[in-house]
């Protein structure tokens, strides 16, 4: 069957099972857009910016577990994708990006809208291709899909010259099967390693599982719960691991790391065995590496060998797909209770729970944590996907929205891309049209990609947007409050009237200023047929607690204040939180300049004292 290169692109996408792509046309990709008219089975979502297309494909991939597809033209089209590609790379999202490129004869001449896309995206893709012949397109796309979804997933970019799209070639599907002799997505650890791991697990007195996004990517929820249940091992989750195991599961301790709960981080520091499952010891999770979990032996179950021993030296690495590895471990794990260990974690938990904002009475002010917790209560009985942006609200979401199912939280973790939420939610809605999709974002991040409100209108999809609006770039402001003596350099910001903005795009807009109005607004939004945007005017100078300052020891965190103040703090003196002494020194200069404070870390119970 002779087809043009442009037709081959769509034919291949169709055969890979693609029914929706996100993109923006332009000169070098015009032949492909023209050929798209012959493929009505593929729905193209026209975005307002290529970054939006990339995030939508990402949201689609994360919500569905399938490969997302984004398409853009050469030059600026491709460079606009870059933030989205890097976001997908850092969070291991399977996406195939297709970009047009100037004609092969003009490559290297700085032609109109020519840019070295494969060069630019080299470090932020799992692999990429420059295709100059129609006959090479099919194999590149097939390989791209295979690479994107196998092993540790990631983005793959296929850059196709305009003349390659215009030429004709024979589409030989079978002959175009992936030929990747150097690509080994499936690794297996030796039996001796399994043996060592089970010995450690069965000997441990204070074991702890760290569950990352690998649990979700590998679909290992049941296996992990069975494994943890057998030996009664508590589980701490990373930001991207949220939803991998139910929030209400008795073994789930909650979020770890910089804004993790105190008892979770204390448990990490006190554990004698850490079993890291599909997580990569990111610096936001470990804090100071020199004092990180020094009491624990470490087992790392990981699909990507380059993550093993990268940040944290481990004792045993079990390479492979998490679900398979857990399946192999399961038979040799002995049943255990670890009652003493659970009791000591429970004691730490009791100490923290009294500080929780949720246990405080309604003071009439609107706190973001209340908004998010109410949102959770009101949507918990429904299949809900929350897509959060980056910043304070993201952390509050992680703390106060309790996710029970995998893929029910979508957020940019590794790259921390502001502006991710709105477009990613559009992608998630296309992946799961029957689910209720909520965007939770700040007023800062929302303004980065709000242009996609038009895409929502054009596609007539139902998405609810909760803007946690404090008229600040809140997380940066919080750092300025904590570490820069409250010099709020360029963090106060104004936005448009979000209610009018929603109206301008043909959506419904609501405003909430008091906690009593939250429920009504959320229910009104849910009942409305079209997209709804709620402007939650929250307390302006609220901070996310607890917090481990960047580079500080994990157990030295800034704890929640005992009483949530009604009035925002105005001076350094009346602040109601306390900076741990160690944290202050570690936060300013790079942690590596400080001598290791290993002996201190031994006395974890005494750390982080509070009046």
């Amino acid at each position: 069957m002779k087809l043009t290169g442009a037709e081959i692109i769509w034919e291949c996408l169709k055969r890979e099972g693609v029914d929706v792509v996100f993109g923006f046309p332009g000169g070098a990709i015009l032949p492909a857009y023209d050929a798209l008219t012959k493929y009505p089975e593929i729905h193209h979502v026209l975005t307002r910016h290529e970054q939006g297309a990339a995030h939508m494909a990402d949201g689609y991939a994360r919500a569905s577990g399938k490969v997302g597809v984004a398409i853009a033209t050469s030059g600026p089209g491709a460079t606009n994708l870059v933030t989205g590609i890097a976001t997908a790379m850092l969070d291991s999202s399977p996406i195939v990006f297709i970009t047009g490129q100037v004609g092969s004869k003009t490559i290297g001449t700085d032609a109109f809208q020519e840019v070295d896309v494969t060069g630019i995206t080299l470090p932020i893709t799992k692999h990429n291709y420059l295709i100059t012949k129609a006959g090479d397109i099919a194999q590149a796309i097939r390989e791209a899909f295979y690479i994107a979804k196998s092993g540790r997933p990631g983005p793959v970019l296929v850059d196709i010259t305009k003349d390659a799209q215009q030429q004709t070639a024979e589409l030989e599907w079978e002959k175009a099967a992936p030929r990747l002799p150097g690509y080994r997505p499936r690794l297996r650890a030796l039996p001796s390693e399994y043996h060592r791991a089970t010995e450690m697990i069965n000997a441990a007195k204070r074991p702890l599982i760290l569950a990352g996004q690998g649990v979700i990517k590998s679909g290992a929820t049941d296996e992990l719960l069975q494994f943890a249940g057998t030996a009664h091992i508590p589980i701490a989750v990373t930001l991207l691991g949220i939803g991998g195991i139910p929030a209400t599961h008795p073994l789930n301790l909650g979020l770890m790391g910089m804004h993790g709960e105190a008892w979770v981080n204390q448990a990490i520091q006190q554990a004698d065995l850490i079993i890291a499952c599909g997580m990569r010891f990111d610096d936001r999770v470990t804090g100071n590496l020199k004092t990180y979990a020094i009491n624990a032996k470490k087992i790392h179950i990981e699909i990507d060998p380059s993550e093993v021993n990268k940040n944290v030296q481990v004792d045993v690495a079990l390479l492979g797909d998490l679900r398979e590895v857990l399946g192999e471990l399961q038979p040799s794990v002995h049943a255990a209770e670890h009652a003493e260990w659970h009791a000591s974690i429970a004691a730490m938990k009791g100490d923290s729970a009294v500080r929780d904002i949720q246990n405080l009475p309604d003071s009439g002010h609107l706190y973001a944590a209340h908004v998010i917790n109410d949102l959770w209560r009101l949507t918990r009985d429904h299949e809900t996907i929350v897509v959060s942006d980056v910043g304070q609200h993201q952390m509050w979401e992680a703390q106060y929205f309790h996710h029970e199912k995998p893929r029910s939280l979508i957020t940019s973790g590794g790259l921390g891309t502001m502006g991710f939420a709105l477009p990613a939610a559009i992608g998630a809605k296309f992946a799961c049209p029957d689910k209720e999709v909520w965007v939770v974002c700040g007023d800062g991040g929302f303004q980065m990609t709000l242009t996609e409100l038009a895409t929502i209108a054009q596609e007539k999809i139902k998405i609810n947007v909760a803007i946690v609006n404090n008229f600040y770039l809140g997380m940066v402001r919080q750092w300025q409050e904590f570490f820069y003596d409250k010099r709020y350099s360029n963090t106060p910001l104004i936005g448009p009237d979000f209610v009018k903005l929603a109206d301008a795009y043909g959506h419904k807009g609501l405003r909430v200023t008091k906690r009593a109005q939250v429920e009504t607004a959320v229910q009104e939004a849910r009942a409305h047929a079209g997209a709804v945007l709620i402007d939650f005017r929250v307390e302006r100078e609220d901070a996310v607690f607890p917090m481990v300052p960047a580079g500080a020891d994990l157990h030295n965190m800034i704890r929640r204040p005992h009483r949530q103040k009604d009035v925002p703090t105005k001076t350094a003196d009346d602040r109601d939180w306390e900076m741990p002494a160690v944290a202050t020194t570690a936060a300013t200069p790079p942690a590596s300049l400080h001598p290791p404070s290993a002996p201190k870390a031994k006395t974890t119970k005494a750390a982080a004292p509070k009046p």
Partner: protein, 192 residues
């Protein structure tokens, strides 16, 4: 820091050298030399990378090299019996008085004179990088006009060929750090 010699078999495709070189830059590793050329197998190129790093760093680089789709096989020859060779061309300033001395040194190093003009000798010397270092040092007395070194190429001794075919189980990696001494704490921050 110790010197590590890694061999990478790669697919002979456009851009692969760039991918490998970018990896070293991206992960903040210093390359001392990198050579690339074809092998006995069609479509397969072989790179010899000499780098300054500790054992931990070498394992990290190896794992990252394996992540490149076009990399077929990686071997660390540092702890193996290996042949390391380099070629240098050295143009040396000579006077009628010093020429004989220079030629004697050429003999001692079993180098060859490949060009000769009034006032200059061009010498070709091969050997281990250390031998080339020494030759360079000796020639400096006469005045080096120009010098070029190819960078080391390496090959394991013995009858077997490593070959581009990857082992079914990659032992070093599958072992975790079982086979490798744990790196000092200072090595931990390096990769980030």
């Amino acid at each position: 820091m110790p010197r590590h010699t890694l061999i990478a078999y790669v697919e002979d495709k456009p851009g692969v050298l760039n991918r490998v070189a970018s990896l070293f830059r991206r992960r903040n590793f210093n390359i001392e030399s990198l050579t690339v050329g074809r092998t006995e197998q069609a479509g397969v190129s072989r790179m010899t990378v000499v780098m300054d790093t500790n054992e931990h760093g070498a394992r990290i680089v190896e794992a990252h090299l394996y992540k490149l789709v076009n990399v077929l096989r990686v071997d660390d020859l540092t702890h193996k019996r290996a042949l390391n060779r380099e070629l240098a061309l050295v143009k040396v300033r000579t006077t009628p008085e010093t020429r004989v001395q220079a030629l004697q040194l050429v003999d001692v190093f079993r180098a060859r004179v490949v060009d000769i003009e009034a006032g200059a000798l061009a010498i070709e010397v091969t050997g281990t990088p250390e031998k080339i270092d020494k030759f360079e040092l000796m020639m400096r007395d006469y005045g080096i006009i120009e010098l070029v070194r190819t960078g080391a190429v390496s090959m394991a001794r013995g009858r077997e060929s490593i070959g581009a075919n990857p082992p079914l189980v990659h032992a070093e990696l599958a072992n975790g750090n079982g086979a490798v001494a744990p790196a000092p704490v200072s090595g931990v921050a390096m990769a980030h």
